[in-house]
Amino acid sequence: MGRRILVTGAARSTGRRLVGALAEEPEVERVVAVDDLEPAEPFPARVEHLAVDLRSPALVRTVQSAGIDTCVHLGVTAEPRAAGGRASMKERNVLGTMQLLAAAYHAPDLRRLVLKSTTAVYGSSAAGPALWTESMPHETPRHGFGKDAIEVEDYVRSFDRRRPDVAVTVLRLANQVGPTVDNPLTRYFELPVCPTMLGFDPRLQFLHEEDTAEVLLRATLGPTHDGTFNVAGDGVVLLSQAIRIAGKPPLPIPEPLVNRVAELVGRTVDFSPEQIRFLQYGRVADTSAAAGQLGFTPKWSSLHAFEDFANTRLRRLVTEEQVARLEQDALGWLRRAAGWVARELPR
């Protein structure tokens, strides 16, 4: 019997991509895509689209009756406005997960659960270590997406204890970028100017969308790995550097005004409040466990992934050619000036 896989949050770009890849695998017998939204690009024909919310009884029936052996939970969202407000976002994230796990608990054929989590669970602060490993005790983010993700992970861990026969893989992904990703951070870099916190320059880590797809596919179809893994591109990029690569002018905001600006920007970008602290302190996760145990090294480094995003999606204000020309002009001028001095000085 082939694999029977259920994917939640399947209509968003990451989910759509995974569902498309799964539908092409011959060993996969059945793909159930759960999402109450319609995907931007229709699902392949052999994918069954279950257009319901995670809290719907139809989901419970499907998980139990369709002989699902793998559940890939991508349904935790970071965008309060798209989810219909913060309260509704929490409801979808946390209660949706609880419902899904309750259904999964009674699914006799279930052997594998993959959760797409986030490095946001580590929060952002000045007092944290430079790199987070999966097992380090970390302060709990008190708001928004980070808090939801922690609660979701807690429920998944408790599920892991109650169903020891199910392999549970939790992937904590860094911020995703790429040609087609649409999330609060990519929308932030698409603003005409990038507001930053005056006097702060956080370290950021990026994960290219191709690597996201690859690691999810591997966790779904490859050998099972029980555990929690950070996934991020090699190296780090400073926010100031990212803004320069994006070719945008930065707009440093002094601390007293930050909340007001965040409110304004928040409406276009749709982020939850703890993202402000992310732009202040940043966050970097140690990815050696994913490399060692999962055997997964992202193809794109953080810098390279961001450059790919900037090259495909953003228009630079200042281009490399302009800078190269300016550099040449300045150097030529300098040398001429030096030559003039050399000729004129002896007289």
Binding site: V236, L303, A338
Partner: protein, 364 residues
């Protein structure tokens, strides 16, 4: 497919191998664009724009600082530039290149945020006049710091602002034969203050916690730690050159775990830069600072009071204390930790006393 093995074949402007993954043409996205940007200008009168492949790693610019060796100008013939102008020209060229790199974001930092490009071109040049002319720093015992591999540099801490740490780092960067970058462990306040926080990271510091210290030492870095912390930094002038308690000896534990040698360093001169007469504790608490110093000039003279006094400095690195021979089990024995901590502290205290006597007057 093993993508990690396919790295870009170009070299970065610093002459190191580019670490980005390569595309089908063997170049990464950055260098592919650079080589494209570089090709349409073959008629430039002087050697062309920065093509990473054609560039010599050691000589980032075709114009060397010595006269006569310059490339002959195609139109005007050779132009010997007098020595002071040649070095000025070289400096200006480096500045132009640096600005170009910064505008485009074409530089690499490590996971801790260390930005060697910024340190080399901006931060170190800013501190150098203080080191050479203001405090006339004399550095000894650099042979005790290994040329490569991990070591834990442990020093005394004083002077209200951590200039002693910066000077030790600059001594190692400028005067050590291997030009080693000292990765210092700092208090979390350093990463919470606007403007200071990013500079602290970019100059290679990280939070004083066992995880970060261990990670740096395991990567073979030279790590600096000032175990007295605020107790040393914010002590009154009358207690100058009396070392405070050395924390709980966490640094010894890290050294034992990683087998890194401990190099004690004694700094003389930092106590006099801001002689602290009093500490306004209540104001400090209000501002969330560990202390609020009153010196003869601060806050009486306002911002002028922030100018440090020009004391004479001596920095001495002491012979390393090996920890590898004790084995990792030694970590479990608190007695070993206490003894090693005391040994390091005594070494520094004695060296400080000896060098104080030798130095004589503080402003000589």
């Amino acid at each position: 497919m093993s993508p990690a093995s396919r790295r870009c074949r170009a070299r970065t402007r610093k002459g190191e191998r580019c670490r980005n993954p390569a595309g089908p043409d063997g170049l990464c996205a950055v260098h592919r664009r650079q080589s494209k940007a570089a090709t349409p200008e073959p008629q430039a009168p002087l050697p062309g724009p920065p093509t990473p492949d054609a560039r010599e790693p050691q000589a980032p610019f075709p114009a060397p600082p010595t006269p006569g060796a310059r490339e002959p100008h195609p139109n005007r013939g050779p132009e010997p530039t007098p020595e002071p102008f040649a070095s000025l020209l070289h400096w200006a060229e480096e500045a132009v290149e640096f600005l170009g790199r910064r505008v485009l974001g074409e530089y690499e930092i490590d996971e801790f945020g260390h930005d060697p490009d910024l340190v080399e071109h901006v931060l170190a040049p800013l501190l150098r006049p203080l080191y050479r002319h203001w405090w006339r720093v004399e550095t000894r015992g650099l042979e005790h710091v290994p040329d490569s591999g991990p070591a834990l540099v442990v020093g005394n801490h004083a002077g209200t602002l951590p200039f002693d740490a910066l000077m030790v780092a600059l001594a190692l960067l400028d005067e050590h034969p291997a030009h080693r970058a000292l990765r210092m462990l700092a208090a979390d306040l350093a990463f919470d203050l606007p403007v200071i926080a990013p500079l602290a990271r970019k100059s290679g510091n990280t939070l004083a916690c066992a995880e970060d210290a261990t990670r740096l030492l395991e990567a073979g870095e030279l790590v600096g730690v000032w175990p007295e912390g605020y107790k040393g930094l914010g002590k009154p002038y009358r207690e100058r050159y009396q070392l405070q308690r050395f924390g709980r000896g966490g640094f010894v534990e890290v050294a034992l775990r990683t087998g890194a040698p401990i190099v004690p360093v004694a700094v003389v001169g930092s106590e006099e830069i801001y002689p602290m007469l009093a500490n306004l504790r209540r104001l400090a608490r209000l501002l969330g600072l560990p202390y609020f110093p009153v010196t003869p000039t601060f806050p009486a003279l306002g911002p002028l009071g922030a100018i440090p006094l020009p004391s004479k400095w001596l920095i001495e690195f002491c012979p390393p204390i090996e920890t590898a021979g004790l084995g990792p089990d030694a970590v479990l024995d608190p007695m070993v930790l206490f003894d090693l901590t005391d040994q390091v502290r005594d070494t520094i205290q004695q060296t400080v006393h000896r060098n104080l006597l030798e130095r004589g007057g503080a402003f000589s």
